[in-house]
Point group: C3
Chain length 255, copies 3
């Protein structure tokens, strides 16, 4: 009952094989959607930049949505984004202009990626995640609900010090990363922390203001199997490339 072809398609839009587009969705000019992707109802893909409303000669920049993606309803992806294969979004998501998002990423409902961001492969952003302009996120990074990556060290100003987060790191719910914060690889930030500064690989960071508590791999975080949970890649593989073969085996093959 959906997919009644009641959507609107702009000029120079390239649509791959087996793509489904929902009702009341608009695909703007110069968007490319690769094979096997679903765009649900009430979405806007290639949402025009500000100039569209005011300049007669506005030309929408190119936008690419990778194959095998599922964009859920009421989501808005601005023009000029380059998104690799298998993006999965919740509802009411906003992705502002000029970001690059790697493959197999998830963006939860109500999340807002503010533009000029680089996000690696296999990242999971849950609901209500705010990724400030100019953020740099590695691969296999998890951001939990209400996490916010800020960027202005002296608000308000024109300075943007984006946050960077290394591969495999996890920022848990309601934590604030202050402007210019650098989180290394394999780190964990505990819930409701307020983090500033630079943290090395394998840090466990907690508090408001947050402090380095110690090496994450040495912390007594045990999972249901009663084994040390971190590095988590040994214990979690859903939708990860090491699914079935395990992280160690996969790592060996890929190094």
């Amino acid at each position: 009952m959906k997919f009644n072809n009641k959507h609107v398609i702009g000029k120079n839009v390239k649509i791959g094989n087996n793509v489904k587009i929902g009702d009341n969705t608009i695909i703007y000019d110069n968007v490319t959607i690769l094979d096997d992707t679903v765009i649900a109802d009430n979405c806007s893909i290639g949402e025009p930049l500000n100039a569209y409303y005011f300049e007669k000669k506005y030309e929408n920049p190119k936008t690419i949505i990778g194959s095998g993606s599922l964009i859920r309803s009421y989501s808005i992806i601005y023009a000029s984004n380059i998104i690799k294969n298998k993006l999965l979004t919740g509802h009411h998501v906003t992705i502002r202009e000029n970001s690059q998002i790697g493959e197999n990423c998830q963006v939860g409902s109500y999340s807002d990626i503010q533009g000029d961001c680089e996000i690696g492969d296999n990242c999971r952003m849950q609901s209500y995640v705010g990724v400030g302009k100019g953020s740099n996120i590695g691969n296999y990074v998890f951001l939990y609900p209400f996490v916010i990556l800020t960027n202005d060290p002296t608000p308000p100003s024109e300075t943007i010090f984006g946050v960077s987060i290394g591969d495999y790191s996890i920022i848990t719910t309601s934590s604030v990363l202050l402007p210019g914060t650098q989180i290394g690889k394999n780190c964990l930030v505990s819930a409701n922390s307020c983090v500033n500064g630079k943290y090395e690989e394998d840090s466990f960071i907690s508090g408001n203001p947050a402090k380095l508590i110690g090496k994450l791999s040495k912390m007594p975080f045990f999972n249901e199997m009663k084994i040390r949970h971190y590095p988590w890649m040994n214990n979690f593989d859903r939708n990860m490339p090491w699914n079935i073969i395990g992280y160690k085996e996969w790592k060996k093959k890929n190094d």
Copy 2:
């Protein structure tokens, strides 16, 4: 000017008497909407589960929306939810699959109930409330804006330890309830707290990390009438079943 019958109705949809359905709203297969309910514009009721997009033989599970409900615009209620009478929602609400919601509940704008939740009667969730998968919420519970109920004790993992909250408890704004937290009846969590562990009836809980401060009923919280405010049921009755007759009288009748 709304209610122009410009909506879409699926198969095997049962619609009661005096139901209004807004424009651009979709009611999916196997949804039942009871009498006197209003579904505003741009909603999706019985939103199909993931398999809908990929499986040809997908059959939408049954969904029930109780009588006398008002679902405001841009809200999405997934298939398989069973919701009792008099649900009132804000705008842009998302209720994921497989939850049971009692009667006379309110869910504020941008709130996200993530699925597999049990929510009692007469609960009030305000704006931006995130109720994690597997949460268990009693009756007459208040959740204020940006409250989040989490569930994964070792993120990321497959373990879900849902939060539980007892009858009459109040979780105030921007507080995080960590996985497996158990809040008893008649408790109050102060704003911006980060709560872990198990708390008995009548606890006042505060801080990051949160601590038990003392018995809520002994705390010096006085209202405008200069009387002790908690238990709040003696002092607040808007839209509660003890409206007019008062809590004590109502309680006597119902015990």
Copy 3:
């Protein structure tokens, strides 16, 4: 490709010159939209109050949207709001009834202004800002993401003690302002603070619970130019009335 005149316009709607209205947008009865304003797709302007759904003789109160405004898609502005010129909104914004908003204000995506608020000129509310009912916000005030202005001192109750914020003050990300909090002019609240009480002009406020740290203008906050950043008006002028001529010159002219 937008602006196909696929919108719905109510009775007694007054639309100025050079106004654009997007597809699937509804303009309800008794709305006035002044010149040069853009209302994007899927918006609702003059959203009717609760009584609309239940009373046959409901009459929508008057709503005014000033000139030169841009309301982005999926935004809802209730009837009875009076909004001056040059409002700029993000997507998925909600502005509830009976507020007054000054000129040249910005309201970011997913922000929720709950009604009965007074907001001055030149304010910037970023994404996910929750402005509680009865708030009173001066001019040139900045509210960063996930900031919430609360109002109920003994939740739940019928008492509303709105928050007030003086001119030029800045509340940074994820901070909670407790009911009745009064922030003077030229103050800064640091990220993830939980603020209660009354603060004089030029305060720097920080922590959970928040404390007065000292005079903001004496704090060692230096910007990229290595000069003291606060008062910020000397160092930031984007979209401000002192743009080009500078704050001091502008102030002299306007005093």
